[in-house]
Symmetry: C2
């Protein structure tokens, strides 16, 4: 494992929001370099940046709304401030150790949409719940299936996750549903895309316009209560099985840091409709290598490059009906699962619906136990063989009330 300094070098520079330990009520915009956080507002003032107002805001919202040209200009400034030897003395006092700050949800989540874009994940779910039938529903290869989640319960990495109460399917022979703490609490390792520039109501966003709208990427753990979900989801989809918590990384990696990570998505065996057809476009997949750990033990390494539907296709689909984007919209990929058993991004798949528990150091795990800490990390190829780290998303399960 490389050091964090190598994963969060000058070619990365993700954005977040922090409080200094001494003044926990304050919110400042920060940029990560190695194991340090640059106070971006203070730096902008020190260097007389034209973007000092954006960078002095208590959230990323104004920067997100400022648009692509400003994103590039700010990134160029940051690289200059953090690399030019002449600036070293100015910058040094504005860098704080990560250990001396608290990180916050860095932007206001407008709408949260969750997709279902991994063929391996959707296929595994189909094989588990509809054995004998075709693993994918008939629409799956024609559109990136998605649904709206609860924006209000998106929280930053490190926030605890309280095991949800809820109904589950009546036990064999009973007419009454069960009720209580979820017995099948699960994770979903995902990648999220954060919208900066809004779009116009009524105007679909073409898949070539991803980078005009999307500011950056975060890691997402879309915690899921499988027993609640299984009972409630017909016919209107997941609701309480998902809405109790969605964790996101504290750091948003700008798309500009991922230039070397674009890769061709898997070959499409069904021709997409024109608004989803990316043949002839630059590669729309992203080579992000995820790692899922429970209490420090790696349980899966899901490869984002294996996702069938790309972020650009998800964006085009999301808006094809005229729904517009707002600054702060978050859309996540759905569980990232690769073709092999060790690449699955949910316990549902890793334990095959609990039938084959994982053997962890402290015992077997079909689903999550109270006290379990789940951490998702990822890296992407950067320039010259470097690695670009994504901020981790982590959370510990607390018992139901």
């Amino acid at each position: 494992m490389r050091s964090d300094s190598a994963l969060f070098g000058l070619d990365n520079l993700p954005y977040g929001v922090f409080s200094p330990s001494a003044t926990p009520g304050e919110r400042r915009l920060g940029v990560r370099l190695g194991d340090a956080v640059l106070d971006a507002g203070a730096a902008a003032r020190a260097f007389g940046s034209p973007h000092h107002a954006l960078l002095s805001a208590p959230t990323l919202d104004p920067l997100l709304a400022a648009g692509r040209a400003v994103w590039s200009a700010v990134r160029a400034e940051l690289r200059e401030w953090l690399s030019a030897p002449a600036h070293r003395e100015t910058v040094a006092p504005l860098l704080r150790p990560l250990s001396a700050v608290r990180l916050h949800l860095p932007f206001t989540v407008a709408d949260y949409v969750d997709f279902y874009a991994s063929e391996h994940h959707a296929g595994n779910v189909g094989r588990i719940f509809r054995p004998g039938g075709p693993p994918l529903t008939p629409n799956w290869k024609h559109l990136p299936i998605g649904y709206h989640g609860r924006a209000g319960t998106v929280r930053v990495s490190g926030s605890p996750v309280i095991r949800p109460l809820g109904q589950r399917r009546p036990a064999e022979g009973s007419a009454r549903p069960g009720f209580g703490p979820s017995e099948r609490l699960d994770i979903e390792a995902e990648v999220g895309f954060v919208v900066g520039t809004p779009s116009t109501p009524g105007r679909p966003v073409p898949l070539t316009a991803l980078r005009d709208h999307v500011f950056g990427v975060c890691l997402v753990n879309d915690w899921s209560a499988r027993d609640i979900q299984a009972w409630e989801y017909v016919p209107l989809g997941p609701f309480l099985g998902k809405s109790f918590a969605t964790s996101v990384s504290a750091w948003i990696t700008p798309l500009d840091a991922l230039d070397a990570a674009w890769t061709a998505p898997p070959e499409r065996d069904v021709e997409p409709l024109p608004y989803l057809d990316d043949a002839g476009q630059p590669p729309g997949g992203l080579d992000l290598r995820l790692t899922v750990a429970i209490n420090g033990e790696t349980v899966a390494e899901p490869p984002f490059a294996s996702m069938y539907w790309t972020a650009a296709q998800q964006l085009a689909h999301l808006t094809v009906n005229g729904a517009h984007l707002r600054t702060g919209d978050l859309f996540a990929s759905g569980t990232v699962s690769g073709p092999t058993a060790g690449e699955r991004g949910s316990l549902l798949e890793l334990t095959w619906n609990g039938e084959r528990p994982l053997e962890l150091a402290d015992g077997p795990r079909a689903f999550l136990a109270d006290g379990d800490e789940v951490t998702i990390t990822a890296w992407a190829p950067g320039p010259d063989g470097e690695r670009i780290g994504l901020g981790e998303v982590s959370g510990t399960v607390r018992p139901a009330p």
Copy 2:
């Protein structure tokens, strides 16, 4: 039909946000009385109200967040200002004719949840799409089914609705989905509940606490593209078939105005789990009489009193998993349909999936045509045989781009 003055008297006093025609960029908080709008901020300043800051805001958000005691105090002030003869001269210049203002979306929608709480509606949908099977899914009588919609496309009454583009199921014999403007654009006549006071993360809200959290009620038209929805919704529920537009009335009627409208919900033939059991509670249904008109012709009169699941039950269910409420959360009832054919709140049911078109003055209608204007109105019993009007929700269909 009674005059608007009778429907919007002193016992009603709904809240909205308006711009004076002369200064369209301004936003002011307004209270409706008859066909006039009181400039609430100006009145608060004129009378030296302790709530002048809340009432001078450009949205209802601060008032919503202020909580139940403030809602009651402000309402008492408004009634005093608008009724005492001594105040007449002060108030008169602060009242503007409705025709001289433009109305706006009155609050920031946080999360939007749509329920499915009418047994008649859910049953009709079941009979249409799963003929021969049981009309309700096995979970329906055990929980108020719901899902999250798109908060960003909630818009105020009077906003046009652009016919969405989208995929539909492949035609018989074709492997490729159809694509184009929806051919089955529909309405859903609903009642929405606007959350004021937030709740604590991880703490379910009991069904006795509705009035501690919910500020008021609006009318909702949850526009639906049935062809898009039918193709996309398995397995994760409705998405693009709904997300293009949801219209809400410009006026939010405070729950305090609906004291005389509470009524017992239909008898439950399945005993609800304890967190949903309202036996022994004051009646949780609301006697709101809706009218749906297309181009001025009444096509349905859905009775909200016939809803199986109450707003209090919806709130208790929404939060039972620990999901918290935020100021501005909007939860809608789902289509309001009564037991008889003239009481159905969607064209899907009124025309039985297009098989029996409505005969309107300008021709038959299976689903909505471009140019159709849909208006939903409602009233509730008030004190002493009065009627309390809800603000209308109206929208005109514009052709697809």
